[in-house]
Symmetry: C3
Subunit: 304 residues, 3 copies
Amino acid sequence: MEKHVFLKEIVAFLKDELIDVYGDPQSIIVKHLRDPEHVDEFTLDWINPGKPEKQKIAETSKAKAIVVDKDVVFSEVLRNQGKVLLVATNPKLAIAKAGNEFFVEKVTPGIHPTAVIHPDAQIGKNVYIGPNAIIEKCVIGDDSIIDANVHIYSSVIMGKHCTVKSGAVLGGMGFGFEKDESGNLFRFPQIGNLFIGEYVEIGANTCIDRGALSDTVIGDYCKINNLCHIAHNNKIGMNVVITAQVNISGSNVIEDDVWIAPNATIRGWIRIGKSATIGMGAVVTKDIPAGETWVGNPARKLEK
Amino acid sequence: MEKHVFLKEIVAFLKDELIDVYGDPQSIIVKHLRDPEHVDEFTLDWINPGKPEKQKIAETSKAKAIVVDKDVVFSEVLRNQGKVLLVATNPKLAIAKAGNEFFVEKVTPGIHPTAVIHPDAQIGKNVYIGPNAIIEKCVIGDDSIIDANVHIYSSVIMGKHCTVKSGAVLGGMGFGFEKDESGNLFRFPQIGNLFIGEYVEIGANTCIDRGALSDTVIGDYCKINNLCHIAHNNKIGMNVVITAQVNISGSNVIEDDVWIAPNATIRGWIRIGKSATIGMGAVVTKDIPAGETWVGNPARKLEK
Amino acid sequence: MEKHVFLKEIVAFLKDELIDVYGDPQSIIVKHLRDPEHVDEFTLDWINPGKPEKQKIAETSKAKAIVVDKDVVFSEVLRNQGKVLLVATNPKLAIAKAGNEFFVEKVTPGIHPTAVIHPDAQIGKNVYIGPNAIIEKCVIGDDSIIDANVHIYSSVIMGKHCTVKSGAVLGGMGFGFEKDESGNLFRFPQIGNLFIGEYVEIGANTCIDRGALSDTVIGDYCKINNLCHIAHNNKIGMNVVITAQVNISGSNVIEDDVWIAPNATIRGWIRIGKSATIGMGAVVTKDIPAGETWVGNPARKLEK
């Protein structure tokens, strides 16, 4: 399973990320990425710009090739060690791009024979659909990955380059009831759609409901982790990060670049402003203005 | 997919809900239900009784047919617009009933060929069982809908008219352990049943465990949303609303008409009195008397 | 389904658990375990050592055979009732062992024909794999039970005697992103393994992610309940109890014998010391020293 990649290939691939390359990548082979404790001579190492003593980390790393920011200089020590420095604007992004290109097993497009696909489903090009996935008469964009056991209802219109992890349930009926004459709960119709943008990622066993009379909308580049619940009629902007087990009740507006920490709960019918941050386990009962951070139960603005 | 329904059919269907009908429904065609922002001339519109300025909403609606309560009068304006008012005791219930009858795709009973069904399972009439559902030697009442990937263990006895959404796991072993002589955790037997009443709805990826030595019981008309956990031995009454990601530890008694908001957590061995309300993200550690509202972590009575 | 077991068989099976047996087990038949309210003459009853008035409970039990601790004496009353006392060091453990041996339906090893198994998966002896389970090129130890709809990725190395309940997703990609030049979120590689020890139990619809560059590790005898999320790179010790809907962010160290109550949330990059207890719904943002109990949002040490 281990790869053998010439460092020069990686350098070529990363050319838009790199400001400078010091040392000679010619004969260096890279076999893997590793966490700091397990770095060896075949690791493509990297140093997070936020760390203290980056120069020392570079000089003591066992790796031959290290992605760094421009604070790390190609010292005499590094030169004598025969190391290669790949100086990047954003080392974490550079290592992410190289890692995905060279060291992550690619998913091969195709539809697993056990998947249950509606004959009128509109499935784009280069889509992967995993074992036992259930795809109703929906739309799935090109280059998307639908993992095992996912259920996508006919209400779903999903863009390109999306990833849906195992067991997610997309576009099911929302939760709305009205008491009838006998005082028993009676279902309110749930007939809206669920629109999902491009480059959206949806975690394992996460549930996103279709709209009731309106639609549910998830913007481009949203990243949603495992076991989240997103109720009907939510309008969620772009690049919103929804971490694990977040619970979003119905009919909210969540603007671009909001970050929602694990297990936060958001009531319905509110607005979360652009780039707001919601803390771990926060219970949000009010609108949150753009850019603010709210934490606690009930959630309040974090001052400072 | 769009329907064409004569308004007079809807009026006839709703006859028990309607107090009065003003205007002439004869030639009006309804194609859909829509949220207020998207109402058009083919919408069966409705006005929530709690809204301000209901008369004005009716007079500015683009719809020809509007379900209202008796506060809205059939004014000169409405008459001249050629509108029809359907005056209902409960407009939301009326629109829900009409919506389900005319605008919601019905599930056709039948067992999907990929479902795995125990030969001795007792499955009622007009039951739908979706793709890849796993039905052990349990009892499922008439007119129930079991969606894709649901797993129902042999411990389950479920009544009529239930809906179980995708990925729910019903009647599995509860979580009980005792330390053995070596200090290692050892499973306590879980051999009780899970009784589910009639008209119960269970959300996607929700897990309800069978009893340990006793049984778990879910009363008629309970509505349980996605990603909930209900542990062994709970006795839950009728018309209890359990919203998304609620966590109910074992051996509680939850009386009729309790309402539990999203992501609330309830410890074991307590009693929640009739019609109590538990707030969003509340952490309930004590008995709650009937009719009270408790919120917070730990939950306390909400005064006022 | 009801069993007929001779009490003398149970006594023989429990010989290492029992200090004494009073009365004559010879002719007594046991058919089931039951909760206190439903005990009858065919029940193997037991009395929790923590209960008050244990002697009275024994003398009023309808059961012929009762597992007790040594505080309960074989009184004249018990003798005249023809009862048998099984005196155990730990009555709950004794009843658990007897219950599992005689009254719990055993799972028969075997691979269900609908399971999707990678040809190079390493599956041990006496393993059960349920319907629609998806087993990639992973390692599963002997005597393990993998229930329906479980998805185990190739990153997983699992020990012996594990139980994985329905719908769990093990070894999927973790949740890590970096903003790219356009400000859009871009996936960080997730290429570590997920190591699971022996006698581990994993609840229904629980998700445990593989490591990013490091590994995720779950120690022996850990018991994890339904709907939990365990992120990448966590190192979890032995006999850790993780109850339902617990949320553990990435890269923590959780030492042996920690107990985490339902719906608690733990941020990333912290250490929870040995035998610490985390309360229901607690939001843990800091290291917790060994043996301490922390509760609340944010979690604080519980004094007293």
